[in-house]
């Protein structure tokens, strides 16, 4: 089953640690947001393949954005 990773809050995309097509483990860090000077890591909720990645480093993004999909 595919999982969409939505942003819990707005902020700046600081680092992206995977690419579309990568195979990831459950709990692996996918990207890190910067929110109020804190680095907020987002991890894979399931093991699988990164089937979508809709953010780029430096993007200023809004809460609720579907940032990535794991299929």
């Amino acid at each position: 089953m595919a999982e969409t990773i939505e942003l819990e809050s707005g902020g700046t995309v600081w680092k992206i640690l995977v690419r579309e097509g990568d195979t990831v483990e459950e709990g692996q860090e996918l990207f890190i947001m910067e929110v109020m000077k804190m680095e907020v890591p987002y991890t894979a909720p399931i093991a699988g393949q990164v089937t979508g990645l809709h953010i780029r480093e430096g993007d200023v993004v809004e809460e609720g954005l579907a940032a990535a999909e794991i299929g």
Partner: protein, 516 residues
Amino acid sequence: MNWKPEADEIAKRRELARAQGGPEGVARQHEKGRLTIRERIGALIDDGSFDEIGEGAGSAERSENGELLEFSPANFVLGFAKIHGRRVIVGGEDFTLKGGSPSPAGLRKSVYTEDLAVQHRVPLIRLHEGAGGSVGGSGGGPSLPGPVFAPSRFRSVAEAMATLPVATAAMGAVAGLPAARLVSSHFSVMSESTAQVLVAGPAVVERAMGETLTKDELGGAGVHTRNGTIDNGAEDEPEALSQIRAFLSYMPQNVWELAPVGPCDDPVDRQEEALIEIVPRERRRAYDMRRILALVVDEGSFFEIGKGHGRSQITGLARLNGQPVGVWANDCRQLAGSMTADGAQKAQRFIELCETFHLPIVTFVDEPGFMIGSKAEQAATIRHGARTVLTASLTRVPWASVMVRKSFGVAQAAHYGPEPYVLAWPSAESGPLPVEGGVAVAFRREIEAAPDPEARRRELEEQLAARQSPFPRAEALSVHELIDPRETRPRLCRWIERVQPLLEPLKGRTGFPVRP
């Protein structure tokens, strides 16, 4: 001659009352994926425990010779029942009759709900679906407006909130008076799939405001669990009911009693290895505070309230060695865990809940301070925040505060209460303001003059952060104990045991009961 004819009529009326809006009305309700009020009550309470009040209330039509032609039951069902073996009052509108809009007898039963709960000092549960009055009047015929000496209808609503736990659920569209009573509660939940909460519905809004919106856009769970109108969302009606049962399990019957201490099979000396590594050494790196909470309190006992609202603050109920407690923590993944205006309001209401029902408060502190910036100023953050700080300072319940990471500014004071038992983790940092903000102001010229200002700023931040070590605080007895994070549960369980004698004298009303 005996009284059998009357007894038969009583039985017939009861049968009609239980038939609610008739097979068609009930079928319509089911088609929309919703339960009837009697089904809701049945699913909420302990099996067979419903003891109805006012089953015979309604309006009857009789023939000239006095024979019962029609009986329309009051569209509010009310009664005593038991949940977890403890007595409660439960009531709710019957949407299969007149769309839940109050009929004269229904309104009487509905208003009587609070009186009955206040009189018997038992928790009150209202399951709402319905609207308020209609310009056509309720009940058809003209009726006299209430006399000047009639008691205020809302006095008992407020009195209930001051003296006993009130839990409510929105199960379908709830508007007008039922909506006001829905939010007049200590815990509210709405079924995401079937409920909306509205001051006024789409037709009224379109007429007055020119906004064309669906009921969900106007007042669905997406709106109201985010703005704090409703505490929790639930997938559907059964989940909403199970959340109410869970909430009540932490509550005393009323303010003159203490919360029930349950059996606990989770060892009080359990030390979780994971606690030593959850907080990253990199000071800017966020972590999962909810995981810490779950590892410390009695296993599976954390019941979160208001997750969608004021999200930099986490509030919920839990148990420590079986004793119900209020838990308040910061979520550093949300705006660094800072106290926003809505987070402050959420925390204040939560502190009031704990104070009203004599629940000890345990905080897990990672508070960088009040939220800053133009939006925060526009939201009146400082006033809402100060109110929370003062509310905490006036409480009488015992507090235990675990300094997990940051504890800065005025905002941090709210997390400690008047006489807290303070434990600090090695990751604790405290002071007037976080290093990052302080360095930018105090070393502005030096940073600007440096060949690489950004590098110099980071360097200064690191130097000053190193000075915020919690060891001097322990030496100065500024904290009760600097601890290995793994010891948190045993320490808190010992604390909860020794504050037991402090709870007994708290029984009774509080100085500032919780309000919506």
